[in-house]
Symmetry: C2
Subunit: 458 residues, 2 copies
C-alpha cells in the first residue's frame, strides 16, 4: 500500500480536477431538458472506466442508460460489484446557491456543486482507487464490476429489470456502495442492515350508503368503528404486533450489536426535538436506536371515513379505510406476513362488514452479519484510511435497489457512506469534504486489497 499511498498523495489535485469535470455535467435525471447532459455523464464515467482498461458499456434502457464495466479478470480472486449513480438531483433554486450548482468551487475544505456528495464524489472514490492499483501495481488484486445508473434520483425504474436480466453477468461476492453519510464528522460507519416493509390498504364496507346515525346507530355495524377496533387489535399496549408468528423469523439483536448501538454517541433528545415531540414510545424492552434500526414496527400511514369537513354531520359512514405498514427486519418474509394478516383480519371483521385488503408493496430487510469477512475487510480498510474504527449502524428505512441487488445476486452489501449528514444532498449548496473524498479513495484502495484476501483465507 505504500506505493499506492504515494500515488494517491501525488494525484490528489488530479482527482479533484476530474471530479470537477464530472460535476460540471448537469446530469439532472428528472427533467427531459437535461437529457443530453445525462447522456454525457454516462459517457464520461464509461470513459473513465475504459481508460483503466476496463470493458465498459453504456447500456440503453427504457429510461437513462446504465453504465456497466468489468475489470480484466484476475483468476481465483473474489469479485466486488460497485454500485453508484451518475445522475443528480435538480438544482431548481439557483438563487439559494452561493456558487452556481454546476460550476464546482472549493470552500472551507469542501467541493461545492450539485452531485458532489450524492453521488459523483463518492462514486469516483471507487474508480480512482482502481486507477491507483493499476498505475502502481499494474493490476487489481481482485475482480471489479461497476453498475452505475442514471435514474437513482427518480426511483431507479430501469435498474431493477436490468439487474434481473443481467443477474449472471453481475454475479459477485460482495456489493460495495458509497452513497450515504458517516455517523458524524470524522466518524465513519458501516451500515450493515436495512429494514424491509409490508404495506397494505384495508377498506371496510358496510351499508350501501351513508346512513342517518340517529335512525341506524346501534343497529347497523359502523365500518369506522369496526376499522378502529381492527387496527387497534394489531398491536398491544406494549408495542408488540399481534399477528400470529410475526416475530418468529426476526433475527434477534446480538449482544455485540446492542453494545455497539448503546455506545454510539446518539443524542435522543435532539432527535426528538428536531421533529417536535417531547417523548418517545415504541416496543418495550428496546432502546430508541434498537427500535429504529432492528425491530419491526406497525404504523398507520393514512385513515379515512365519513365526514371530514367543518362541524358535525350525523352519519354512519358506508365505508372506512386505512393504509398501514409494517417495517420488517431480517428475516421476516413479507408474503408470510400478508398471509397472517389476512387471516387475522378475516377473524376480526364483524358481521355486516365486507373487507378488502390490498397488498400494496412488500420487500424484505437486508442484514450483513457483523462477523461477515466482507464487513471485517471493510472495517480494516476504513480504519486504515480514516484513522479510526467505523461504527456499525443500520437504517430504519429501506433502500429498494440494495434489497434487489442483495436478493438477486445473493451477495453481502457493504454500505460505506463517505459523506456527512449536512452535505445538503437534496438541498441547495450541496458539498463534499475533500478530506473525506481522499480518505474515501484511500479506504477503497485498501478495501480492494482486504477483499482480495477474503477469498484467500476462505
Amino acid at each position: 500500500m505504500s506505493q499506492i499511498d504515494e500515488y494517491l498523495a501525488s494525484h490528489a489535485a488530479w482527482f479533484e480536477q476530474r471530479l470537477c469535470d464530472f460535476l460540471r455535467i448537469a446530469s439532472v435525471s428528472n427533467d427531459p431538458a437535461y437529457r443530453a447532459e445525462v447522456d454525457r455523464a454516462a459517457d464520461w464515467i464509461a470513459g473513465q472506466l475504459r481508460s483503466l482498461g476496463f470493458a465498459a458499456e453504456v447500456c440503453p434502457t427504457a429510461g437513462h442508460p446504465v453504465v456497466y464495466a468489468e475489470s480484466p479478470p484476475v483468476e481465483g480472486a473474489p469479485t466486488a460489484l460497485v454500485y453508484g449513480h451518475y445522475d443528480v438531483q435538480p438544482a431548481d433554486r439557483p438563487d439559494k446557491w452561493t456558487s452556481p450548482p454546476f460550476e464546482p468551487s472549493i470552500r472551507d475544505g469542501s467541493i461545492c456543486a450539485r452531485g458532489a456528495s450524492d453521488n459523483k464524489g463518492q462514486l469516483l472514490t471507487h474508480v480512482f482507487s482502481a486507477r491507483a492499483w493499476i498505475e502502481t501495481a499494474g493490476r487489481l488484486p481482485l475482480n471489479l464490476k461497476y453498475l452505475i445508473e442514471g435514474e437513482e434520483e427518480v426511483g431507479s425504474p430501469s435498474l431493477e429489470p436490468f439487474i434481473r436480466q443481467n443477474a449472471q453477468r453481475l454475479a459477485c461476492d460482495c456489493i460495495v456502495i458509497s452513497d450515504g453519510a458517516q455517523f458524524g464528522p470524522n466518524q465513519p460507519a458501516i451500515t450493515y442492515g436495512l429494514r424491509g416493509i409490508a404495506y397494505y390498504e384495508l377498506v371496510l364496507r358496510g351499508p350501501s350508503r351513508d346512513l342517518h346515525s340517529g335512525s341506524f346507530g346501534g343497529t347497523v355495524t359502523n365500518p369506522a368503528n369496526a376499522l378502529v377496533r381492527i387496527l387497534a387489535a394489531l398491536v398491544d399496549g406494549h408495542g408488540r404486533v399481534q399477528l400470529p408468528g410475526f416475530y418468529d423469523d426476526v433475527v434477534p439483536l446480538s449482544e455485540r450489536e446492542r453494545r455497539e448501538m448503546a455506545a454510539l454517541p446518539f443524542d435522543e433528545k435532539a432527535y426528538l426535538q428536531q421533529v417536535g415531540v417531547a417523548a418517545s414510545t415504541g416496543e418495550e424492552g428496546y432502546t430508541l436506536l434498537e427500535r429504529r434500526w432492528a425491530r419491526p414496527t406497525y404504523d398507520i400511514n393514512g385513515l379515512w371515513a365519513g365526514y371530514q369537513g367543518q362541524g358535525a354531520k350525523t352519519i354512519l359512514p358506508e365505508s372506512a379505510g386505512a393504509k398501514f405498514s409494517f417495517r420488517l427486519v431480517p428475516h421476516q418474509d413479507p408474503q408470510q406476513i400478508t398471509q397472517a394478516l389476512r387471516s387475522m383480519l378475516e377473524s376480526l371483521v364483524p358481521p355486516g362488514i365486507a373487507m378488502e385488503l390490498t397488498d400494496l408493496h412488500g420487500s424484505p430487510g437486508v442484514l450483513v452479519p457483523l462477523d461477515s469477512p466482507y464487513i471485517q475487510a471493510a472495517a480494516r480498510a476504513i480504519e486504515y484510511a480514516f484513522g479510526r474504527s467505523p461504527v456499525y449502524t443500520r437504517e430504519g428505512g429501506s433502500i429498494p435497489i440494495v434489497t434487489t441487488l442483495h436478493q438477486t445476486l445473493r451477495a453481502d452489501a457493504l454500505l460505506l457512506g463517505w459523506g456527512q449528514d449536512d452535505d445538503n444532498c437534496h438541498s441547495p449548496n450541496e458539498k463534499f469534504s475533500l478530506a473525506d473524498f481522499h480518505r474515501g479513495i484511500r479506504a477503497s484502495a485498501k478495501l480492494w486489497e482486504e477483499l482480495s484476501r477474503v477469498g484467500k483465507e476462505a
Copy 2:
C-alpha cells in the same frame, strides 16, 4: 262529540278546499325567490286562526316570521301548545311530479302537493278541530296556543331564540305536534321518546410534520395509531360504551315498553335490506328496535389522517382526527358525558401526543312516560278517530326543536304523526291521505276534550 262529528262530516269538503288554498302558496323557505310566498303562507295561517277569534300575531324574526296565536282563555282548563310549520321543502324537479307541486290534485284518495303531509295538512288538523269546537260548542274545552314557524325545513334558526325569549307566553301543560308518520297504514302511533346526542371532534397531534416511517417508525408515537387505540377503547366487544358512569342515568326500558316494542310488526330483514347489510350488530342483550330507540350508541362519523390517495406513502402522519358521537337516551346529560369523555381521553393519550377535544353539539333525549295522563288522553283520542289503539314508538334520532320546547317549557310533548312513511315528504309527488287528514281532525277534536279532563282529574 256527536255534534262535533256531525260538523266534521258536513265540513269535510270545506276543510279540503282550505287545505288546497294553503297548498297553493309556494312557501319554500330555503330560496329567497319565494320570500313573498312564505310571507303569504304566514298571513294565511294567521288569518285562519284569527277567524276563530284567536289573538294571532305574525312575529318578525331574523328569518321568516313566526306565527303565534292564543285562543280566548278558558279558566281552570289546561293549556296545549300546538307546534307546526307553514314552510315547505323545495319542489326543484317539477318534471318528476305527476301534477304541479303547488296545484293540489286528488288522486287515489290522497291530496297531492308539496307540503300536503309536511306539514300543512297535518298542521291544519289542529286548526280545523278547534274550528269544530267553536262552531258547535261555541268555545274550546281548553286553552290552545299555536306556534307555527316558517323555517323548519332550514333548521329552525330563528325559532330557538324565539322560544327562549317567549318562554313565559308559551307556557303550557303539553305540546302537540303532528309532523310525522304513523307506524304503518292504518296503524297510528304515539312517539313518546327521542334520543339526544353528544357530538365531538378529536384531533391528536404528534410530530411537527409528517415523518418518514422508516427513519422514525418505532420511535415516535404515531398519532393515527394512538387515535384508533383510543377510539377503540371507548366501546367493548359487546357494544357497551366504556365511559365511566355512561349508563348511570339511562332510564331502563320498562317491561311494558319491551313488550310493546316486541309486539310491533317490524320487519328486521327488510330494514337491513334497504341499506344493503346482511346482519345487524349492536349492544348485546337488546333487540334491534330497542337498540335503535332506547339505548345509547357510539358511532364514529368521520376519520382522517395522513395519506388518503392512490398507492403507498410511507409516512408517520403528524396528526389524526375523528368526529364521533354518542346518541343519548333519557336521562343522560350531555355535559356529564363530555366531562367523563375528556378525563377518559386524557388518561388514554400516550406520551408524545397532544389532544384537542371539541364538543360540537350536545342535546339530551326526550321521554314522555307511557303512563303520562297526556299520552293516555292522546291514545283515547286516536282510538276514537282511527278505530284502533296507537302503538308506542320512539325515534332513534333527535328533533332539536322538540328537545328545545320540552326543555324550555318543561312540558310533555305528544308526537302524533298523521302521515305515512311513503308520503314523499322530501321527494317529488308529496301526498297526504284524505282519510288520515279527516281522522286527524277528528282525533285532534277528541284530544282537546280528553286533555281538558286531564286537568280536572288531577
